[in-house]
């Protein structure tokens, strides 16, 4: 009957809660992710740390590679399109990916506008650094929000900054008067009606996940305790020395994020995590989080 309502899109995001969504670049990695307990995979040609290293233009993945991953696993398969590149999104829709990530990890196609996501049957996830950005994306039709962090850095500091910012702004909204909410909407560049919803709910109107820099079970636990409802792990798994074990450990730590004994056990005996970058090693113009408007 009805199969593209916003509720159905958000419904899938609800089902991904409490889980780990892993970046994978081929079917073998996708199977490792599924066997480790990932609740979804993100199919992309190069993981963010390699995109950062290789430079050049980063685009939507080859459909063949996405189709291969869809064949290999039974869990939802997500894929990325460039910011504003609705033709790439249309292709991903014909491939029937389960979620489209309009992602700052790829090179933006439009420096002013994002995709109008309401036009699509498939749900979208978009990144944000603050509440205003989150609500602009939801206004465009995003069914899930993820805080951006700094993809491919292996450094949790930006993910924390963005989650803290969103949560602080949500708390602030819940305390404002009706009059003040209008001024606040103007200040943060958010649609008034959505900010009013946030003020009433005390949370975003769609699930709020965390991404960008998660490399260890403790990182996952930290983000969940700060208010993330699921975590995305990109380079952190397949740039580590033992992806299968690390993937499983991050899954366990995400489920039991408040149980430090289980997180400690999950953290024990893992081989090296990805090396990671200090933010001072990434010039401001090279930061992926700056992309998105």
């Amino acid at each position: 009957m009805s199969n593209n309502s916003f509720e159905i899109k958000v419904g899938l995001a609800e089902m991904l809660k409490g889980g780990v969504i892993m970046d994978v670049t081929n079917s073998d990695q996708a199977k490792i992710a599924e066997d480790a307990g990932a609740c979804a995979v993100m199919a992309l040609e190069r993981i963010p740390s390699d995109i950062r290293k290789d430079g050049g233009i980063s685009r939507m993945s080859d459909p063949e590679m996405i189709l291969g991953i869809q064949k290999a696993v039974s869990i939802p398969v997500m894929a990325k399109c460039r910011i504003g590149h609705f033709a790439e999104a249309q292709i991903l829709e014909t491939l029937e990916v389960d979620f489209i990530d309009e992602s700052e990890v790829l090179t933006p196609a439009d420096e002013h506008n994002h995709v109008w996501k309401h036009n699509f049957k498939i749900p979208f996830v978009c990144g944000c650094r603050d509440l205003g950005e989150a609500l602009r994306r939801i206004a465009e039709g995003a069914a899930m929000i993820r805080t951006k962090g700094e993809a491919g850095s292996g450094n949790i500091v930006e993910a924390v900054r963005h989650m803290r910012t969103v949560m602080t702004e949500i708390k602030r909204a819940t305390r404002l008067d009706k009059e003040e909410l209008i001024a606040e909407a103007k200040r943060i560049g958010a649609p008034v009606s959505l900010l009013q919803q946030v003020a009433k709910l005390g949370k975003l109107p769609v699930p709020n996940f965390a991404a960008g820099g998660i490399a260890t079970p403790a990182d996952a636990s930290l983000m969940m305790q700060l208010g993330a409802e699921t975590v995305f792990v990109g380079s952190g798994i397949f740039k580590s020395d033992d992806p299968a074990a690390r993937a499983k450990a991050v899954v366990e730590a995400t489920t039991h994020f408040e149980n430090s004994e289980i997180v400690a056990k999950a953290s024990t005996g893992l081989k090296n995590a990805m090396k990671g970058l200090d933010m001072s090693e990434i010039a401001k113009e090279d930061r992926l989080q700056e992309r998105g408007w």
Partner: protein, 204 residues
């Protein structure tokens, strides 16, 4: 007596079940470890990914706890929860609990683009049908079922809500649509739909 219903919180759509229980005035509790089963009077296994749920049930050794619990308390499963309650499924990646005598197929309707809201007719008893609109997300299909399984709702010739003894399995998500009748049926002993009151109707 105040009762508390557990919602399995390994991974998946547990939030909306907590919200639904709160709406109908029942305490809820997130179940993650074996000792949590001592604190609850009923259990919901939510939707999510059955591969993940199956793995985590083993990792955290919860299978036996659920099987024991099922002997005396009501359990409801939605979507992946239904898959986990089944006797067998078409996918070796998932090891079901074998609570309900049903055979299911995962993602039977296709990927997310095929997820939909559909009209489902819920047969409360012989005289009374209730029409509901509920959401199917990458939904499973109940391909076959045993003699002691009662079909309480069908969609396109396949059962989508099945009941047996103290167990209810749903292929769809009433919690997404704000439909409280199934939660009341399993956990609200004041409700006219409470399963212990309805048993004779179903058996007839």
């Amino acid at each position: 007596m105040v009762i508390t219903i557990g919602v399995l919180e390994l991974q998946g759509g547990f939030d909306l079940h907590h919200k639904m229980l709160k709406k109908i005035g029942i305490n809820s509790f997130g179940v993650k470890v074996e000792t949590d089963f001592k604190k609850i009077d009923g259990l919901i296994i939510p939707g999510g990914e059955s591969t993940t749920l199956s793995l985590l049930l083993d990792t955290f050794k919860l299978r036996n706890a659920i099987l024991e619990f099922a002997k005396s308390y009501p359990i409801m499963g939605t979507c992946a929860g239904l898959i986990m309650m089944s006797k067998s499924i078409d996918d070796e990646r998932v090891k079901p609990l074998g609570l309900l005598d049903i055979i299911v197929k995962r993602n039977a309707y296709g990927r997310q683009v095929m997820s939909s809201q559909e009209k489902v007719i819920f047969a409360l008893n012989k005289e009374r049908n209730i029409e509901l609109f509920s959401t199917f997300i990458r939904a499973p299909r109940i391909k076959d079922y045993g003699n002691d399984v009662i079909i309480i709702a069908k969609f396109k010739d396949y059962p989508v809500a099945v009941f047996s003894r103290n167990l209810l399995g749903l292929a769809f998500h009433p919690e997404i649509d704000g439909i409280d009748i199934f939660h009341r049926m399993m956990f609200d002993n004041y409700s006219e739909f409470y399963y212990k009151k309805l048993k004779e109707n179903y058996a007839a």
